[in-house]
Symmetry: C2
Subunit: 199 residues, 2 copies
């Protein structure tokens, strides 16, 4: 930013610009907002975020974010602990829980295999998943994103699990609800046809 | 947010949701990002913003944000201190400086008159402006936004200044550059016609 902006504004804006999806213009707007707030409010904002970061850690079972040893899903007796849904990130757990209907448990990988970015099996939480499979598990649902990395990770893990005699499934591909055929991409349309269901 | 989100995530997201233009969904995304960052980075983020808020104060001349006693514009001898451009907020100073071409100084009101919100003349920095006018001033440019409050504030202040024999001007209304006549609102089009210039 140019010299006509005061130094505190520039440094606050630089911090906000580090956040994902926040460009320089929005960062500056947020910085202006912050510098206009009472000192106590700014201190509370900063302290709460630092506190949240300090108190969060990964559930020792499923690796999802929690402030406890074992997260509220893994600690819930009403859930089916024999079904494990494998996802890339904690936000995917939120998404599936928000959608509702799933009563099993989760396993958060905290990343996807990506040889391009030098991310191998030891960089994501695959070992922790394999350890859970020594217990009584009926099914592992691979719920990684339908991207190249998501597919590769799902395939890699399923090849490790299948020899153990555990059922491995993958989320269905198809048309998104409320969408139109004419706007669907080729791959999605092909998959929707291949996986057609009887009515 | 529902109970399946961990407490640290919820409290971090609540802090981000306080920012302007950040809804609950974006706030949650930012919270996820933060909880994934190294502790030191989160602490730096928080500390820098608090530091910026502590070090910022208003220029004792123009009331713009600065970390010094007198801001870099008011302290610049090359600028014309006899011309004062009156704006609502520090971000307006940035906007005009970014546009370039203005060589005078500024006065930041830190708000606009708004009887609806119980904001009167004593709540914005009008007294500080009047004090500056006892010195040598040729022109005061009212550069508040072209809104009801911006207009009212410009009119109010110009009525106070005119009896002092100082020239008071207002930013021009008209069509924005690159716009199309057919999309211009009625008021803008009327003003553009009224204030037409000879070619």
């Amino acid at each position: 930013m140019a010299e006509y902006n005061s130094l505190p504004l520039v440094s606050a804006a630089e911090q906000f610009a580090k956040l994902p999806g926040i460009g320089m213009k929005t960062a500056q707007r947020l910085a202006y907002f912050m510098l206009n707030q009472p000192v106590e409010d700014v201190e509370e904002f900063a302290a709460e975020i630092v506190k949240a970061r300090h108190s969060v850690h990964c559930c020792e079972v499923c690796q999802n974010f929690t402030e406890k040893e074992v997260c509220s899903i893994c600690g819930d007796d009403r859930r089916n602990h024999k079904v494990i849904c494998v996802v890339e990130a904690p936000k995917d757990v939120s998404a599936i829980e928000r959608a509702g209907g799933f009563t099993g448990t989760y396993h958060v990988l905290h990343g996807l295999l990506s040889p391009m970015d030098n991310i191998g099996p030891q960089d994501i939480r695959i070992a922790e998943l394999m350890k859970r499979l020594t217990g009584e598990v009926d099914e592992v649902i691979m719920a990684t994103n339908p991207t190249v990395e998501g597919e590769a990770t799902a395939t890699y893990i399923s090849r490790m699990i299948k020899p153990m005699g555990i059922k491995v499934t993958r989320l269905a591909y198809g048309l998104p609800a409320g969408s139109a055929l004419e706007y669907a991409d080729d791959v999605t349309l092909q998959r929707a046809l291949e996986n057609r269901n009887e009515l």
